[in-house]
C-alpha cells in the first residue's frame, strides 16, 4: 500500500487504500475501502477485500478529509507511529470534499498512487508553497504547544485532477477550517525560514510582470511582551521583468521599494489570517519560550492571536539573470 486516507470520524470511519497491481502489459492501481470504528479497525475491514495481508511498509502519503481533520488528528495517526513497520517519513495532506476521487485519479497512473502524491507534495515543498512536513515532523508539532501545523490542502480540480489549493491551518491538534492560498504559503515559508529549493514571488509592477526568486533570506525576531517584530533581509534574483533597464540605480531602488512594500503588506495579511485561525505556523512560540520564557503562555494559541506581529522586509536585488 502506498496511499491511504481517512474520512468520517472515530466510531464511524471510512478508509481507502491504494495498491499497485502489475499485469504483463501494464500497472494499475487498485483501490479498496474499509469501514470501522478506528484506523486499525478499518484496515482490518479492508483486508477482507484482498487476498493477502496489507503491508503499509511502503506507505508514501496519507490523505485526510478536511472534516476528519477538524477532530484531534493524532487519533488517526497513532497506529502509524506505534508500528515499527510503518514508515514515518510519509507525506500528509488535507483534502477538500470526498476522498474517493483523489484515489480514483491515480488508477491510470504508471507510478504507484502514493508516489504520485509524494512527488506532488515534494514539488510544492521545493517551490516553498507548503511547509515540508513528514508524518514524524508533523507529529512533533502536534505535541508541541508553541507551534502549529500547516499542512498541504488539496482540492479536486475541474478536470478531475488534484490541485494544490493552499495550506490547511491547524490550531493545536485540529484543522481550523481556514486555509492560506498557495501565494500566501510562499510568504509563510519565508516567515517560517523554511525555504525550499526555489522560492518565487510575482507581482504586477506598473502593468508589467515582475518575478523574483529568493537567493538568500535572513530572518530575525525582535520579541517584547506583546509585540513581535520580524525583520527579514531578502536577496532576490530577477526571474522575469520585461521592462528591463535595471542597470539604472534609481529604477532598481524603485523596484526594490515596490517589492518591499508589497511583500510586507501581503505578509501582514498572512499573519492576520494565522492569528484569526489561532495558528502559530511560524513557530514564534518556540522562540518566545526559549529566549523570553516569562512572556510565554501555556495557552499559546490564544495569546498568539492577540500579539502585535509585524514583518519588516528589506529587499535587495542581487542578480538579474543573464540579461541586464
Amino acid at each position: 500500500m502506498s496511499l491511504t486516507g481517512f474520512e468520517g470520524e472515530i466510531g464511524k470511519l471510512t478508509a481507502y487504500y491504494a495498491y499497485p497491481e502489475a499485469t504483463t502489459t501494464e500497472m494499475k492501481t487498485v483501490i479498496i475501502t474499509g469501514k470501522g470504528v478506528s484506523p486499525r479497525d478499518v484496515r482490518q475491514d479492508a483486508e477482507l477485500n484482498v487476498e493477502q495481508t496489507m503491508d503499509l511498509s511502503v506507505l508514501s502519503t496519507i490523505l485526510i478529509s478536511e472534516k476528519t481533520a477538524e477532530d484531534d488528528i493524532y487519533n488517526y495517526l497513532d497506529g502509524y507511529f506505534r508500528d515499527s513497520n510503518s514508515p514515518i517519513t510519509s507525506k500528509l495532506a488535507i483534502v477538500q470534499g470526498d476522498l474517493k476521487p483523489f484515489f480514483e485519479v491515480s488508477e491510470d497512473k504508471q507510478s504507484t498512487a502514493g508516489e504520485y502524491y509524494d512527488r506532488f507534495i515534494t514539488s510544492l515543498e521545493e517551490n516553498s508553497m507548503v511547509i515540508p512536513y513528514t508524518l514524524q515532523t508533523a507529529s512533533t508539532i502536534i505535541f508541541e504547544n508553541a507551534q502549529d501545523l500547516a499542512l498541504p490542502y488539496l482540492k479536486m480540480g475541474e478536470e478531475k485532477h488534484p490541485k494544490a489549493e493552499g495550506l490547511a491551518l491547524f490550531s493545536g491538534r485540529s484543522f481550523t477550517g481556514k486555509i492560506l492560498t498557495i501565494d500566501e504559503g510562499v510568504l509563510l515559508n519565508i516567515l517560517n525560514d523554511s525555504l525550499g529549493f526555489a522560492t518565487r514571488i510575482s507581482y504586477l509592477y506598473e502593468d508589467s510582470p515582475v518575478t523574483v526568486r529568493i537567493n538568500k533570506s535572513k530572518r530575525k525576531l525582535n520579541i517584547s511582551e506583546d509585540k513581535i517584530e520580524i525583520p527579514l533581509k531578502l536577496e532576490f534574483i530577477l526571474s522575469e521583468f520585461p521592462k528591463d533597464n535595471l542597470d539604472k540605480k534609481n529604477k532598481r531602488l524603485e523596484l526594490e521599494k515596490f517589492l518591499q512594500d508589497e511583500i510586507e503588506k501581503d505578509m501582514k495579511g498572512v499573519i492576520k489570517k494565522l492569528q484569526e485561525a489561532k495558528c502559530d505556523a511560524i513557530g514564534l512560540g518556540r522562540h518566545v519560550r526559549a529566549f523570553h520564557p516569562r512572556w510565554f503562555k501555556e495557552d499559546w494559541n490564544e495569546h498568539f492571536s492577540t500579539l502585535d506581529i509585524s514583518p519588516k522586509v528589506d529587499v535587495e536585488i542581487v542578480k538579474t539573470g543573464i540579461l541586464e
Binding site: S57, T89, T134, I141, F143, E144, G283, A290
Partner: protein
C-alpha cells in the same frame, strides 16, 4: 584467570560497558523529569563521574573485594545482565521480530554470548574494536536528521521544573553505570602502563560527548510531550531517516545496537570471570553454561512490559549503589584499616 590490559583496552572495555546497555533509551527517562534542564543535569553528573574516576585512580590500591562484596557484585552484575537481556529482547520483538517467540530470541542471543565468553579472554577484551566503525556510522546517520532539529527546544533552563525535577540527576547516572569497572579492572593494567590524568580526561570527554550528543539530539528532535511516548528515542530518530538505498534504515541500526549489546554482555561476563575465576576453578565452561542458563531462564520469566518498566525505573538505584557508593565505601574502609591490594593478594 588473570589478564593484562593496556590503557586503551581498559578504556575500550569501560566505554562498551558504560554505553551498551542504556545508550538508546536513557534519554527518555532523564528528559521526562528534568525536561529542558536535561543537558545541565547530565553534565553535573558527568563531572561527579570524572571526579570519581580521579578518586578511583588515586585510591585504586585500596580497592579489593572480599567474599561478601564479591557475592554482592555477582548478584548485581547478574541482575544487570538479566534486566538488559529482557530489555534487548523486548526491543527486538517490537522493532524487528514481532512474530518470533522471545524464548527463541533469548536463546540465540545468549548462545552467541556464551560462545564468545568461553573463548580466550583476549577475544572478549578486544571484541569491542569491531564496534568502533559501527558507532561512527551510527553517529553519521544521526547527523542526517540535523535539518529536523529545533535548537529552541534546548531552552529555557531552570524554568519549567516539575516536582520530580531532581530525578533527572538520578536517571543521568544510568549513563555512568559500570563506573565500578574502572576500579575493578585497574589492578589488571600492565605494570608498564601509566595512567596520567590526561588519559582519564580524554576518556571522560569522549564518553560525556557521546552521551551529551544523544541527549541534545533527543531534546531538539522531539517535543517534550511527544517524548513521553518514545521509549527508545535514538532508534526512533534513526527510524525517521530516509535514504534512497534502503526503506528501513532503522533495522540496520537495531542490528548495530544488537552487536553492541552482545559485546557489552560478553564484557560484563569477562569481568565476572576475572573476579570469580581469579583462582583456578574446576569446570569453568560448565559454570558459564549454567550462568547463561540462569540468565536466560530468568529473563524469559521476567519478560513482561510491566516488569520491564518497573526495572527501568528502579535499576538506577542499583547503579548508584554499586557504581558510585559501594566502591567508595570499600576504599574508605580499607584505607582506614590500612589494607591494600597487595596485602589482600598475600593473604589469599
Amino acid at each position: 584467570m588473570t589478564i593484562q590490559l593496556t590503557k586503551v583496552q581498559l578504556f575500550l572495555l569501560m566505554f562498551v560497558m558504560q554505553t551498551g546497555f542504556v545508550y538508546t533509551s536513557f534519554q527518555n527517562m532523564v528528559i521526562e523529569h528534568s525536561k529542558r534542564d536535561a543537558t545541565i543535569q547530565f553534565l553535573v553528573v558527568a563531572v561527579i563521574f570524572f571526579m570519581q574516576l580521579l578518586f578511583f585512580e588515586r585510591m585504586h590500591k585500596y580497592f579489593f573485594l572480599n567474599k561478601f562484596t564479591k557475592a554482592l557484585y555477582l548478584i548485581y552484575w547478574t541482575s544487570y545482565i538479566i534486566v538488559f537481556v529482557v530489555y534487548i529482547t523486548y526491543v527486538l520483538t517490537t522493532w524487528v521480530f514481532p512474530n518470533t517467540p522471545e524464548s527463541v530470541l533469548i536463546a540465540i542471543f545468549l548462545s552467541v554470548c556464551l560462545y564468545a565468553s568461553i573463548s580466550r579472554p583476549e577475544t572478549a577484551i578486544n571484541i569491542g574494536v569491531v564496534l568502533i566503525p559501527m558507532l561512527l556510522l551510527f553517529l553519521l546517520f544521526m547527523f542526517l536528521t540535523v535539518k529536523n532539529l529545533s535548537v529552541t527546544n534546548l531552552l529555557p533552563f531552570f524554568y519549567d521544573r516539575s516536582n520530580t525535577w531532581f530525578m533527572g540527576f538520578i536517571f543521568s547516572t544510568y549513563a555512568f553505570g559500570g563506573a565500578e569497572m574502572y576500579i575493578v579492572l585497574r589492578k589488571y593494567l600492565a605494570k608498564s602502563e601509566k595512567m596520567p590524568k590526561k588519559a582519564l580526561a580524554i576518556y571522560f570527554i569522549i564518553l560525556t560527548s557521546f552521551y551529551l550528543l544523544s541527549i541534545t539530539f533527543t531534546l531538539m528532535f522531539f517535543s517534550l510531550e511527544e517524548l513521553k511516548l518514545i521509549p527508545e528515542p535514538i532508534l526512533y530518530i534513526l527510524h525517521s531517516v530516509e535514504v534512497t538505498f534502503v526503506k528501513r534504515l532503522d533495522l540496520f541500526f537495531v542490528y548495530i545496537w544488537l552487536s553492541w549489546s552482545l559485546v557489552t554482555i560478553v564484557n560484563y561476563v569477562l569481568v565476572i570471570r576475572v573476579v570469580y575465576f581469579e583462582n583456578k576453578i574446576k569446570y569453568p565452561k560448565v559454570k558459564l553454561l549454567i550462568f547463561f542458563i540462569v540468565v536466560g531462564g530468568t529473563a524469559n520469566v521476567m519478560f513482561r512490559f510491566s516488569i520491564l518498566e518497573f526495572l527501568k525505573q528502579n535499576l538506577v538505584y542499583g547503579v548508584i549503589a554499586f557504581s558510585f557508593l559501594l566502591p567508595i565505601l570499600i576504599i574508605v574502609i580499607n584505607k582506614l584499616r590500612g589494607r591494600t591490594v597487595s596485602d589482600s593478594v598475600k593473604s589469599s
